[in-house]
Amino acid sequence: MILLERVSKRYPNGREALTNVSFFVDRGELVFLTGRSGAGKSTLLKLIALLERPTRGTVTVNGRSTGTLKARHIPAFRRQIGVVFQDHKLLADRPVFDNVALPLVVAGAPLAEIDKRVRAALDQVGLLGKERMLPMELSVGEQQRVGIARAIVGKPPLIVADEPTGNLDPDLALEVMRLFKRFSDVGVTVLVATHDLHIVREFGGREITLSSGQLTGGAADPLPSLVASR
């Protein structure tokens, strides 16, 4: 599902965020990306969600290399990835319903289906009944869950989450992680960046660790054969 081959990312200001990173995530896997802040977790997620392109190496998601993707194919590429952002990226002037519905609206889903799926997604994150509220009227944790509902509403084959439990109390954090686990159980690939090692241990998913832009654990084992069979 996700394949990184000798990927490096250097920002225009000269900072090298990732150096020679390679790993593979299989379909339906639940993988935790850990490491201290500044280790390159966010950069890695951005490369996968095509918010950045690698300086060197290739990033392949669902069989498509991000390096050669033409601009007009980017929207379709992004629609197959549900991204949960650390800062939620919600539209402050739109009610919860509209925020969650956005991926379906841009994909051109019929209104009846949008209505049904938005409610289902809100139900899964425990926010049913708050459709008409504005993000500002919700707690930070609830805003976070709106962002998660938006990421899952389009039923993408891949969910990428950047510190999705960062602002949640432990109970809610576990709840959200269980949600991600359920998705991976039904075949959705889930990649979660987090520094909450407690949660990682609890769920026992594979752990990929970054340190100063380099991989220090969790990636190597299946890589060579999969690179060959790609």
Binding site: A49, L51, A76, R79, L91, P103, A107, G108
Partner: protein, 307 residues
């Protein structure tokens, strides 16, 4: 995507654009005013030309020439000369107006009937009325024809009746060109106004555009509401321009009718109709769409998600 879904998305974009315009009524009205006045000016000039043309009626086409024969030339000789005149290149038709006929017409139209009765003899000569071909109705060829006939020994004088009509038509041609230039300039102005308005709106909605692109919104999807906004501005501006013109006509109609009546004419000012209205509204909407497209194309590219 089904056609129904596509229609729904367009309806959503249209309603969204309308809603945003309605939420900032003052800014919307000011923008519409600028666009409306910019569209009204060339349209008003165009109306002026059209009305001036219809006020002068068919004069433009009825350019003809009166060739006055010397007073001793007989009617029989005049008929012979008419045959010769028909052979001159550029002449479409020739008719002979005899001195008697001329006197009758003069008596009828001039109001000098009583004075004419006092005359012992008919003072009028026989006249050839020459109608030039359409191809020879330019100023230069008419002047050529005039000289040709003036050289004939039996001819006393050639009068080109339509000199003022020619000049008037030339003036109209200049004004018509002015209309075209004004339309181009003000059209460019409308483009710039709408383009700038859309640019500001894109800046205002930067976050929304970024998030929309983040969840996979295509450029076409992001651009659509702005195109509707631009088209609505064009449509609203055209409506305003039409109202302005109708208002101006309302004020002008009575004095113009009075002026026309003094000239014995039943001429009436007419407003935009049919294809002219279509051109105003179509042009306004096309300019709005184009201005929005240029602006959106230019500025949406700059907004790429940087999460």
């Amino acid at each position: 995507m089904t056609p129904g879904t596509v229609a729904t998305r367009h309806a959503q974009a249209l309603l969204g654009a309308l809603g945003r315009l309605a939420r900032a009524p003052l800014a919307t009205v000011l923008t519409l005013l600028v666009i409306g006045l910019a569209l009204a000016l060339p349209a008003a000039l165009g109306l002026l030309v059209r009305n001036a043309q219809s006020a002068t009626g068919g004069f433009g086409r009825a350019v003809d020439m009166s060739v006055y024969l010397k007073s001793g030339v007989s009617l029989a000789r005049a008929d012979e000369l008419a045959v010769n005149a028909r052979a001159v290149p550029g002449v479409a038709a020739v008719s002979v107006i005899s001195a008697t006929e001329g006197l009758r017409q003069f008596r009828q139209y001039s109001g000098f009937g009583a004075a004419l009765d006092a005359l012992q003899t008919n003072p009028l000569p026989n006249v050839l009325r020459i109608v030039p071909r359409a191809s020879a109705s330019g100023v230069a060829s008419l002047e050529g024809l005039r000289r040709t006939f003036a050289r004939w020994p039996e001819v006393d004088m050639v009068q080109l009746d339509a000199q003022w009509v020619l000049r008037f038509n030339a003036i109209l041609a200049v004004v018509r060109r002015l209309v075209a230039i004004a339309a181009a300039l003000f059209g460019a102005g409308v483009l710039a106004v709408i383009g700038n308005t859309i640019r500001l709106e894109i800046l205002n909605r930067h976050d929304e555009i970024e998030v929309t692109k983040l969840v996979g919104g295509s450029n076409a999807f992001v651009r659509r509401p702005f195109l509707y906004t631009g088209t609505l501005y064009g449509l609203g501006g055209a409506m305003l321009a039409w109202l302005v013109l109708e208002g101006a006509l309302l004020g002008l109609r009575a004095p113009v009718a009075h002026l026309a009546s003094l000239y014995g004419s039943a001429f009436e000012l007419t407003g935009l109709a049919g294809r002219e209205l279509l051109a105003l509204f179509g042009g306004g909407m096309a300019l709005g769409w184009l201005g929005a497209w240029i602006s959106a194309h230019r500025h949406l590219r700059d907004i790429e998600p940087r999460a």
